[in-house]
């Protein structure tokens, strides 16, 4: 079936317009970050005529950006490591063993995704207070891990299922324990899966706003999304130039890493659903 040339052109134009409209808000953000507040006011949509890096200088040197960036990096990378360490063995058990309560465990894991933030935060608050973890980066890491683990277990199980058990059996005959065979045989073969869950945890933790807003008490502990929200709310007229520069700086690291990892995340997400 050939498509009529006129229809082909129409298709290409339609996709171009659609994607430009989808990208336009981000383009606006980039434009604004390079304009002075006066130029933003006089030409809300135009290309910056006298591009300046002043907004970026303001954000980097006159705000607490680096403190909040450090917090975000610590929490995000701890969440990635912690949820991988907890998820990988659980995924292995789900993939390789039959045990009582396996279905119940799976249902609980999947249901966790529907738990409302407000209930979890009130409950976790009590747990964190007991251990003195309110207003700490470790406390926030634990919260993020709760939400990234269920998805991670499920994703990794999909990858482990595809690795033939025969590979492990051969090693076990040579005296390899199950733990060693997970670490030495299964995990190296499941690297794309680990990259998928890493990308997922990164996205979740870096961008998460609600818990970070609620359990942190002072600016020294805020993560970047909270820093941004406070930037918007900080009294009087909003300074769109510095705000846009800040938003761009907050987004760029996660955007770059996401673009590197999205291939794995997408194939992990669709692997189970599409079959």
């Amino acid at each position: 079936m050939r498509m009529h040339p006129a229809k082909q052109i129409l298709l290409n134009v339609a996709v171009f317009v659609f994607v430009v409209m989808l990208a336009f808000p981000v383009v606006l953000l980039v434009f604004n970050s390079l304009k002075t507040d006066i130029e933003i006011f006089t030409s809300p949509m135009g290309v910056p005529l006298a591009p300046t890096l002043g907004n970026f200088r303001d954000v980097l040197f006159n705000t607490t950006f680096f403190t909040n960036l450090r917090n975000t990096v610590i929490v995000a990378f701890s969440t990635i490591v912690l949820s991988a360490c907890v998820s990988a063995p659980a995924s292995y058990a789900l993939s390789r063993y039959r045990f009582k309560g396996k279905t119940a465990f799976s249902i609980w894991l999947l249901a966790t995704q529907a738990f409302p933030g407000i209930i979890m935060v009130l409950g976790l608050f009590t747990v964190l207070s007991v251990y003195g973890l309110v207003n700490t980066l470790f406390g926030l890491t634990i919260m993020h891990t709760t939400f990234s683990m269920p998805f991670s277990v499920w994703l990794l199980k999909g990858y482990f299922d595809k690795i033939p058990y025969a590979l492990e059996e051969a090693a076990q005959i040579d005296g390899c324990t199950r733990v060693r065979s997970l670490v030495k045989i299964v995990l190296p073969l499941a690297v794309p899966g680990l990259l998928a869950v890493g990308t997922f945890s990164l996205l979740l933790s870096w961008n998460e706003f609600f818990f970070a807003l609620v359990i942190m008490r002072d600016n020294a502990h805020y993560t970047l999304p909270v820093y941004l929200a406070r930037f918007i709310g900080s009294g009087g007229v909003v300074q769109w130039g510095p705000l846009s520069a800040a938003a761009l700086l907050v987004s760029l690291p996660v955007l770059i890493l996401f673009m590197l990892g999205q291939r794995y995340l997408v194939s992990g997400l669709t692997g189970g659903a599409v079959k």
């Binding site: 498509m3 907890v86 249901a111 009130l122 409950g123 706003f209 659903a273």
Partner: protein, 297 residues
């Protein structure tokens, strides 16, 4: 036909369970400590209320729910949340379906480039998305400048008009959700058997008939997973309404997660906030049941 004796199977099963346990311990500890316990603890809060006189939370039985069912803001939030979720997810799905079918066409040049650009909003923090749209919707911002340019003299005030504020938030949320839905649908479309589509076309099925009778039914599973997951995420979404309108003007755009937050952390009524949370949970349990059934199948 069982080749092994019953007792041998039992031994093997017990053996399996003993071996599986160590692998499950970390996840079980995490699930119990930071999921099961907080859930129970959080839900138990619905029976408590802060009393200024006693200066502590006291047991009040069902009082929070009695108050909830007399609270017009709660009902406003409930209906807003339904509108927000249903129209938001429907909008995402509709636009993403169009985009995904076009991106799947072999006659499109630069598919990889378009696919990559489409992904961008997915990676952005909700707070960033919200502030971009807050700028676009300013009274003299880009959107209204554009509308005046094409001859609309009095474009609405998107963020402070009570008739419109919620829809403004919905548009921002749809934009943010399009990448995930598009990419999932695209993967579903790519897994379809092209021969089936071609057979339908040869049999004279037009574009829309082919979509409704061939494409949609064969993607039932992926579509159900997209719709359930996206409904849960959208219903629980907090960032966008918080940054764009704070639920205002008045309570025109308040959603349940935002109202629960306001009660628990601004008015210090944790019990009342938890009661709203329990209502959210009961709505979402229905949705998650569908999701779990699809995934475990």
């Amino acid at each position: 036909m069982r080749s092994r004796g019953g007792s041998a199977t039992t031994v093997r099963r017990l053996d399996q369970e003993r071996q599986a346990l160590p692998f499950l311990v970390p996840a079980l500890v995490v699930l119990c400590a930071v999921s099961l316990y907080p859930l129970v603890q959080g839900i138990s809060r619905v029976f408590y209320a802060y009393r200024a006189l006693a200066q502590e939370n006291v047991f009040v039985g069902w009082e929070n729910f009695v108050l909830l069912f007399q609270d017009t803001t709660f009902f406003r939030g409930f209906s807003n949340s339904l509108v927000w979720t249903v129209t938001g997810v429907a909008g995402m799905f509709f636009l993403s379906y169009i985009l995904a079918t076009m991106l799947n066409s072999q006659y499109l040049r630069g598919r990889r480039f378009y696919r990559t650009v489409t992904l961008i909003p997915w990676a952005l923090p909700g707070t960033v998305v919200s502030l971009i749209w807050r700028y676009i919707f300013l009274p003299n911002g880009p959107l209204n400048t554009f509308l005046r340019g094409i001859g609309i003299a009095n474009p609405p005030n998107w963020l402070t008009n009570p008739q419109i504020a919620l829809w403004t938030c919905i548009i921002a949320n749809i934009w943010m959700g399009i990448p995930f839905v598009t990419i999932m649908l695209l993967a579903g479309l790519q897994a379809l058997d092209r021969q089936v589509l071609e057979a339908a076309a040869i049999d004279g099925a037009g574009y829309f008939r082919a979509q409704f009778h061939v494409v949609l039914p064969s993607m039932k599973k992926v579509i159900l997973i997209i719709l359930t997951l996206e409904s849960i995420w959208t219903f629980n979404m907090f960032d966008i309404v918080f940054v764009l309108t704070k639920g205002g003007p008045g309570s025109a755009s308040v959603t349940l997660p935002l109202y629960a937050y306001q009660n628990a952390f601004m008015y210090y009524q944790a019990g009342y906030g938890a009661a709203i949370g329990l209502i959210i949970l009961s709505v979402l349990l229905l949705v998650i049941a569908f999701y779990i059934r699809e995934v475990l199948e």
